[in-house]
């Protein structure tokens, strides 16, 4: 969310990044190996120009072919060693960084799977995906080669400086005069680029949110002919991103050439001053050439540090965004002393239950109390937004009650382990979401090792067997992420089969037949009634149709989060005005025609 973005920027700094780098610890061998290899490469880099200088001074100038041959052989050896270590460095660093990325993603995904419903009510999936992919990638690219390069740059810098002083301290002083200027320029560069990178990441996040919405809402967009509007919306953010990227380019263009200029000035100073010294006989020409090359080796790490500092701030911002998710409190977790829930007979009791969303003042549920015996069917009615879904969501602990308690067979749902609780509850959610895979996979979602027979029995009970067999490949037909190709009612029936397959002790149907036609619904209901009574299972059902609720053992009528009335159909018919009002159109107007149809 937008708030998260801002937090991310505020927290950007060494803290989260250091924590992210802590993940490197699992890959100690690779990281240290990479660092060692890199230092050897750097060493070889330092040796090469010395050898060249030597070749000129002791081989070529005095015309000694044997020395020249040695030097040439030495150079070749150095080249091979450098090649080997360069490879090791690149490979090991990457392996470590890929490991870090893997671990971070793994941790993030595990966390996301466990965060409670109320978290998902607030966040956008696009943002979560962005953090798990792009942000992790930013951290990865720094954690691997970045860290190793940084360590190397520091070592190189010190090594090269030491060598320069060893060769000729006066020349070294002249050469190093440009270093503070370069450092200053780089500091300025980092200060300019850091906030820019933060903005780029944030704009990118917004761009992806637009894209995400566009893809998920494509039907609505087409329906309202808003393609141009969406394109304009995307273009606005895209242009903003372009603007920020251009700003970044400008900062690079305004700084890096000058850094190179300063480095070149160092060369110039050395050739001039060194040349003058050669003329006065205090320095050999070979030394001068070697010196010049070494200066390059000193300036290079400085540039590296400059480039890396930009990456550091980028990775830091990403790390903050990643840890924001990892640190999000899990609102629904097992208590430390949670015990597994024994097999339920399923007496359900709500004891003065209230609920409100975190950070919200408004009570969604207020003082809900009722109890039902095992094997009962409870129907929940109420106007839109009266808290029906919230009430049933407390049973499998998708949310935890903020007041009172929900008990199953006398066990407070918060005292038992989540997995043992949810394993005994079958639920059909309001929005029937199917997953990519075959129809069979979707029915067997809660019990992937179910036999074909079990799958078919569940589908038959949900009145889905018929249409499934009519699909091109029957149960093996592949359906898309959004279950496209299936109608709303067909999707709901697969979702019902899914819930029945796990043979739940408690079945919850959250308005799950709204898109099913009356004929099919009647059939589903008959099977369900029979199944549940046979097995003596408790059922909670949220529905709008009178045919669904009429036979319930207990009907709860919710009114703005409180129980407005409860009882059986007959009782409520005579006592509850609200009940009559909610079912009004169906009760008052229908019976005559219906009675006629029924004979």
């Amino acid at each position: 969310m937008a708030d998260g973005e801002r937090d991310g920027e505020r927290n950007a700094g060494p803290g989260p990044l250091r924590r992210a780098l802590g993940y490197l610890r699992s890959y100690k061998r690779d990281s240290i190996g990479a660092a060692l290899a890199l230092m050897l490469v750097s060493g070889a880099n330092l040796v090469a120009p010395l050898l060249v200088g030597r070749a000129i001074d002791t081989g070529i100038a005095p015309r000694r072919a044997d020395v020249l041959a040695y030097v040439v052989a030495g150079l070749a050896a150095v080249a091979l060693a450098r090649g080997l270590f360069t490879f090791l460095q690149g490979y090991l660093a990457e392996r470590a960084s890929q490991g870090v990325a893997y671990d971070l993603r793994d941790a993030l995904f595990g966390q996301m799977e466990r965060l409670s419903f109320s978290y998902y009510d607030r966040v956008q999936t696009g943002q979560l995906v962005q953090r798990l992919t792009n942000d992790v990638e930013q951290i990865r690219s720094f954690a691997g080669s970045g860290v190793v390069q940084l360590a190397n740059a520091v070592v190189m810098l010190i090594g090269a400086a030491a060598l320069l002083f060893y060769l000729d301290w006066r020349l070294a002083l002249v050469a190093l005069a440009v270093v503070p200027a370069i450092a200053l320029l780089l500091v300025r560069f980092v200060r300019l680029i850091r906030p820019l990178f933060g903005q780029v990441q944030q704009t990118l996040g917004r761009l992806n949110t637009v894209l995400q919405e566009d893809l998920s809402g494509v039907r609505v967009i087409r329906a309202f002919a808003r393609e141009d509007y969406e394109t304009a919306r995307y273009k606005a953010v895209n242009d903003e991103l372009l603007g920020r990227n251009l700003q970044t380019v400008r900062v690079f263009a305004n700084n890096f050439p000058f850094v190179f200029l300063l480095a070149n000035l160092g060369t110039l100073a050395i050739v001039w001053f060194g040349g003058w010294q050669v003329i006065s006989g205090r320095l050999s020409i070979g030394e001068l050439v070697a010196f010049n090359t070494l200066l390059g080796f000193m300036l290079f790490p400085i540039l590296t540090i400059g480039f890396l500092s930009a990456n550091i701030s980028r990775a830091g911002a990403s790390a903050a965004r990643v840890f924001e998710i990892l640190d999000a409190p899990l609102e629904v977790v097992d208590k430390p002393d949670a015990s597994p829930l024994p097999l339920l007979r399923c007496r359900v009791e709500f004891d003065d239950v209230s609920f409100r969303y975190p950070g919200s003042e408004r009570e969604i549920l207020r003082g809900v109390s009722f109890a039902v015996e095992p094997g009962s069917t409870v129907a929940i009615l109420g106007t839109t937004g009266s808290g029906k879904s919230t009430l049933v969501n407390l049973l499998p602990r998708f949310y935890d009650a903020t007041g009172g308690a929900v008990r199953l067979d006398g066990h407070d749902v918060r005292d038992v382990t989540l997995s043992s609780l949810r394993a005994q509850i079958g639920m059909v959610l309001q929005e029937a979401r199917l997953f990519s895979g075959t129809v069979r996979d979707n029915v067997a979602f809660g019990k992937p090792d179910a036999t074909d027979e079990e799958v078919r029995v569940a589908a038959r009970a949900a009145q889905a067997d018929g249409f499934i067999r009519g699909l091109s490949d029957g149960y093996e037909t592949v359906i898309g992420e959004r279950g496209v190709g299936l109608s709303g009612g067909q999707r709901q029936r697969i979702a019902i089969a899914r819930a029945l397959l796990v043979d739940p002790r408690l079945l919850i149907l959250d308005d799950s037949t709204s898109a099913v036609d009356a004929e099919t619904e009647a059939a589903i209901q008959e099977t369900l009634d029979r199944l549940m009574r046979e097995k003596h299972r408790t059922v909670f059902v949220i529905a709008q149709r009178i045919s669904t609720v009429r036979d319930a053992d207990l009907i709860l009528v919710l009114d703005e989060g409180a129980v407005g009335a409860m009882g059986t159909h007959e009782e409520l018919r005579s006592t509850s005005e609200l009940y009559n009002e909610i079912l009004g159109s169906q009760i008052v107007d229908e019976p005559v025609a219906a009675a006629g149809g029924d004979g």
Binding site: G59, A61, F85, L242, V271, Q544, G584, P591
Partner: protein
């Protein structure tokens, strides 16, 4: 371009001047000459700085503009792809193409291209300088180039394959991720979290392994080139030393040559590195072009008609439709709706009701036969214009992030707050909206956040009301709304429907009893047509559906 050439001249000029300084002045002991050359060198460096500044900015901004326009092109194409393109593609994979794959191009441009273009020109400059300085030494040095080209080609091919795998696996990761996050409620409800985590772990590991493998190739590549270039340096020293012995070149020339050799191989190295890196971007680009090459919806006819002022007569003339060739979902659907009439579609799930309704705004085009509005084929109208005259409330209400007012206002851009509130009032949504903490300005998370299904549906209802369409399609629009609210809406709808052509799909038969025409659909065919009373008297499918809904008569 001028800047690039200038930069190359400056880059090549530096070593040449230094070599000259060593040979002519330092070795001759000419301090004044040295000073002159150094001043000249300073000028060359200054020139080089100006050139490279322009270069960095020029190339950088061209690259960024290119990427921005690429993103815009993809997005634009996505707006014009037929709906069936989206039917079977996971959102996460599409997302990955627009974000991750474009990002590989970004990396290539921002890191590689600037350096590459600059270095290619320097390469030419240095090449010329080397040949002029000492052609035989230069040729000896160039002997290594064919080997480099061969090595690069070899590596690039393998790298391309490896990177293709990394792009695919990262697409898998985000597609799975997207689906799992959206379906997290189901995962928790069915105790699937552990299994999902295990599955994600597999994909995650596959991506990691693909990356490590790709890197094994690329990180072997650059040392290989490095070894070759160092060997070239050794060659220059060996052969050059021999030449110095033979007295054909001076030490200064050799020194300058050594600097050239190093400078020469740096761009070569960069270029080949770039080439390998480009393989990753190319693998990404392939996936991007998969989208861009996708056939868009056929364009509107050039002489597309204005829909404005239509009466709203809708005709289906013997329409057959198949999502997949050979498996028709609709067969010979033939009916006509007079302007202002309400037609209800009823029938068992999967009968094809939604598909019939989808053909009117051209979500899909009929396979055979034609859908017409006011006697003209819908394909003769411009899509945008057509859809703006049709209001649709879909079964699954989709809300955008933004405020409640934004979401209702989506129906007609530029609608005033009063109009938005009035639309909300029409569908009885004003009440619950006013109770929200910020009323109409309450921000919604994607998908509506903590609103209930029914509340979300009311919002999409208000959205359609605001459009003030000539033709209104309600696809299961009231299935999640309780009967009491529905009754209120119904009254409002009665007023709203007056004078508009409407197609209503509903399972609650009470919703559709007053329709002018009821079409009972089964297996893609219209099996019964008539009014409520006529169809009840017929005692067929409709009567059956109707009776079952009120299974047992309620005696009051």
């Amino acid at each position: 371009m001028v800047l690039v050439v200038l930069g190359a001249v400056a880059q090549a000029g530096g070593p040449w001047l230094i070599g000259r300084a060593i040979d002519r002045f330092i070795l001759q002991g000419d301090a004044a000459g040295l000073a002159r050359t150094m001043m000249f060198l300073l000028a060359v460096y200054a020139l080089g700085t100006v050139a490279s500044r322009g270069q960095v900015f020029g190339i950088g901004s061209v690259a960024q503009r290119l990427l921005a326009s690429l993103r815009a092109r993809i997005f634009d194409r996505l707006q014009h792809l037929p709906l069936r393109f989206f039917d079977r593609r996971p959102i996460g994979d599409l997302m990955s193409r627009v974000t991750n794959d474009v990002d590989t191009l970004n990396q290539l441009f921002s890191q590689g291209l600037t350096q590459l273009l600059g270095s290619i020109f320097s390469l030419v400059g240095i090449l010329v300088a080397m040949l002029v300085l000492q052609w035989n030494l230069a040729l000896a040095c160039f002997a290594i180039i064919p080997i480099m080209v061969l090595t690069t080609a070899l590596f690039a091919r393998r790298a391309r394959q490896a990177f293709r795998l990394t792009r695919e696996t990262v697409g898998d990761v985000s597609a799975g991720l997207q689906e799992d996050i959206v379906g997290v409620r189901e995962a928790q409800a069915f105790n699937r979290t552990e299994r999902n985590i295990a599955r994600f772990r597999e994909r995650n590991a596959a991506n990691r392994d693909a990356n490590v493998q790709a890197v094994a190739i690329t990180s072997a590549f650059s040392p290989a080139i490095d070894v070759l270039s160092t060997l070239a340096t050794a060659l220059v020293i060996g052969y050059g030393g021999y030449l110095v012995f033979a007295g054909s070149i001076s030490v200064g020339v050799l020194t300058a040559f050594l600097i050239y050799v190093q400078q020469f191989f740096r761009p070569v190295q960069l270029a080949s590195q770039f080439y390998t890196q480009a393989q990753s971007a190319l693998a990404g680009a392939e996936r991007i072009y998969n989208i861009l090459d996708e056939e868009p919806e056929p364009p509107d006819p050039p002489d597309a008609r204005k829909v404005g002022g239509i009466e709203g007569r809708v005709t289906f003339g013997h329409v057959t439709f198949a999502y997949e060739p050979g498996r028709p979902v609709l067969r010979d659907v033939d009916f006509e709706i007079e302007p202002g009439q309400t037609v209800a579609l009823v029938g068992p799930t999967g009968a094809g009701k939604t598909t019939i309704a989808s053909l009117i705004p051209r979500f899909y085009d009929a396979t055979e036969g034609a859908v017409g509005i006011d006697g003209r084929d819908v394909r003769e109208y411009a899509r945008k214009d057509l859809r703006e005259n049709i209001g649709i409330v879909l079964q699954e209400s989709f809300l955008f992030s933004g405020t409640i007012a934004d979401n209702i206002g989506y129906g007609r851009l530029g609608a005033s707050r009063e109009e938005i509130e009035a639309a909300a009032g029409t569908v009885d949504a004003h009440g619950f909206i006013s109770e929200l903490p910020d009323g109409y300005d309450t921000p919604l998370g994607e998908g509506g956040g903590s609103l209930s299904q029914g509340q979300r549906q009311l919002l999409s209802f208000a959205r359609a009301v605001l459009t003030d369409p000539r033709i209104l399609i309600l696809d299961e629009a009231t299935s999640n709304i309780d009967t009491r609210t529905e009754k209120v809406i119904q009254n409002a709808l009665a007023t709203l429907l007056k004078g508009r052509t409407s197609v209503v799909i509903a399972h609650r038969l009470s919703t559709i009893r007053n329709a002018d025409l009821i079409l009972a659909v089964r297996d893609g065919r219209i099996v019964e047509r008539g009014t409520h009373d006529e169809l009840l008297a017929l005692g067929g499918l409709y009567a059956d559906l109707y009776r079952r809904q009120f299974r047992e008569p309620v005696r009051s």
